[in-house]
């Protein structure tokens, strides 16, 4: 981990945020245990992971971490210390993304994998779900990273986006799901699992490509926004 990633990570990751992230993961695991105790089948477990894990936990954790890694420094002015160095802005955006991913991926993928493991799903399915969750967390993280530089109230906007677009609008039709990070994350999981329980709007490889594109795009957008950033009063 670079010194800048470490610095951004320590600055963004307050004890409160970390505990909230861990608590949200524990809630997901708790739901998994409830499914187990209620005698639910693999389909029930996958539904919990899909709706609460990929659908809620991943965007929630990613928006809190992603918008704060550079959003907080932009807001309190400490971003000036980074922007007055001679580094290309991508060399600031990349460590910031790593800081986001280092937090968001474990806080989301681990609970998802734990739920599936507790319920006795095969290791292949567990790893597939972990990978799909990680890919979605990275895409969300990169997008929210850029949002944190762009907007003052990025957290609020990110939460509204997650709740309204990802949570409601994207579920209305397959066409709209093509524009949903959540749907692509679920498609990657399904594809890697080799199962066809949830038919996604696009093929698995395409979904992975879209998530990769969003991650890279978010990263480049962050660098571009840093280049044009104007100190806030």
């Amino acid at each position: 981990m670079t010194a800048l990633t470490d610095l951004l990570l320590r600055s963004a990751l307050s004890r409160g945020r970390l505990l909230a992230g861990v608590a949200a993961g524990l809630v997901l695991i708790g739901l998994g245990v409830v499914v187990l105790l209620a005698g639910g089948d693999a389909g029930d477990v996958r539904a919990v992971v899909r709706d609460v894990g990929t659908g809620l936990l991943v965007p929630l954790v990613a928006v809190v971490v992603g918008t704060s890694v550079l959003g907080d420094p932009a807001e309190d002015g400490t971003i000036a210390y980074l922007l007055t160095t001679p580094q290309p802005r991508l060399r600031i955006a990349l460590p910031a993304f790593v800081a986001t991913a280092v937090v968001a991926v474990p806080l989301t993928a681990v609970p998802v994998m734990a739920v599936l493991t507790v319920n006795g799903l095969p290791p292949g399915s567990v790893v597939a779900a972990g990978a799909g969750t990680a890919a979605a967390a990275c895409a969300y993280g990169a997008v929210f990273l850029a949002l944190g530089v762009l907007l003052r109230r990025a957290l609020l906007v990110g939460l509204l986006y997650s709740a309204i677009w990802e949570g409601i609008v994207a579920g209305v039709a397959d066409g709209l799901a093509r524009l949903s990070i959540r749907a692509h994350g679920q498609t990657v999981t399904t594809w890697l699992d080799g199962a066809t329980l949830t038919a996604g709007p696009v093929t698995g490889p395409t979904a992975l490509l879209v998530l990769t594109g969003l991650t890279v795009g978010g990263l480049l957008a962050t660098a571009g926004l840093l280049r044009r950033h104007v100190a806030r009063s």
Binding site: R10, G77, T84, T85, P86
Partner: protein
């Protein structure tokens, strides 16, 4: 002797926020040594500083630092050190970890040594492992200065660096800035307190309402201030007699008797009033108990200067 080459060139720079003009066609050249940037709140000092370090574009005009545009040319930012006015610092890290991370960003060969050295220069213990958020305001100010110095900048821009420092800290920072100036660093220090700046800045730029109201040595700026009309409250056991005597002597242009022991006088030349008052009071048999300038605040001084400049 030729004047030192301009390290910082500000050419016709304007900047506005909506309808509010922060800087208006400002042009100035700054060479090595300490330059004080003086002005009341809202004069445009912070806007100018942010433009100088590349954190804000000028709406019109341009800035060159060592011949390069700090907004477009990221490389030249490696030659600039910046101490922002904002007190915020990354809180949950030690000062050394913070400054070291910046040293790495500045591509220093030995970031550990660079961080330790700049912390020491700023008067902090490099071994102190406490998180920065536990520091006092004065110590945070020193961390900011260490961060700005870690890469040995050719241009050091400080926005109100003496804020929050105790008297001893102020002296230390002023001495440090003076030393850096002597070493050939172009040090630009903003402040709204002339008597502080005049202790270490041989040249002062006075900014008012986004315009350059005056520039020169602190002594020259002080003289300009002394030349302006000023209102003074005088308390004496014989206020009426003293008021009449001051008018007769030509030391004041207007006298208002507030009560039996208090006068408020207007003087066109405060320096003349200062010289004549003790003599006039003695001759009139009046005992002075208080002499208080009523509009010595910088806003009124600066406003006078800019109005004078606009005439």
């Amino acid at each position: 002797m030729n004047p030192p080459p301009a390290v910082v060139e500000v050419q016709e720079v304007s900047r506005w926020y909506g309808d509010v003009v922060a800087l208006h066609r400002l042009s100035v050249a700054i060479g090595p040594g300490v330059t004080g940037l003086l002005g009341p709140n809202g004069a445009g000092k912070t806007s100018l500083i942010r433009i100088l370090v590349g954190l804000m574009p000028a709406d019109e005009g341009g800035v060159r630092i060592l011949g390069r545009d700090p907004r477009r040319d990221v490389g030249v930012r490696g030659r600039i050190g910046y101490v922002p006015e904002a007190q915020a610092l990354p809180g949950r890290v030690s000062a050394h970890r913070f400054v070291r991370a910046l040293a790495i960003q500045h591509r220093m060969e030995d970031p550990d040594a660079a961080a330790a050295s700049s912390l020491q220069v700023a008067g902090l213990d490099p071994e102190d492992s406490r998180a920065v958020h536990t520091y006092s305001k004065g110590m945070r100010q020193r961390v900011k200065i260490a961060a700005a110095l870690v890469h040995g900048p050719a241009v050091l821009v400080l926005d109100e660096p003496l804020n929050g420092l105790d008297p001893q800290g102020r002296v230390q920072v002023m001495t440090l800035l003076e030393r850096l100036g002597r070493m050939g660093v172009a040090v630009i220090v903003s402040s709204h307190v002339l008597h502080e700046v005049q202790r270490f800045a041989p040249r002062v730029l006075v900014l008012v309402q986004g315009r350059l109201a005056a520039e020169g040595s602190p002594r020259a700026i002080r003289a300009l201030m002394d030349d302006r009309p000023a209102r003074t409250r005088i308390r004496s056991d014989s206020a009426r007699v003293l008021g009449a005597a001051l008018l007769t002597a030509g030391a004041v242009t207007r006298v208002e008797v507030a009560d039996d022991r208090t006068l408020v006088v207007d003087a066109a030349q405060p320096a003349l009033l200062r010289d004549l008052l003790p003599v006039v009071a003695r001759d009139a048999g009046a005992v002075l108990t208080e002499v208080t300038p009523l509009d010595e605040d910088l806003d009124s001084v600066f406003t006078y200067l800019v109005q004078r400049g606009l005439r």
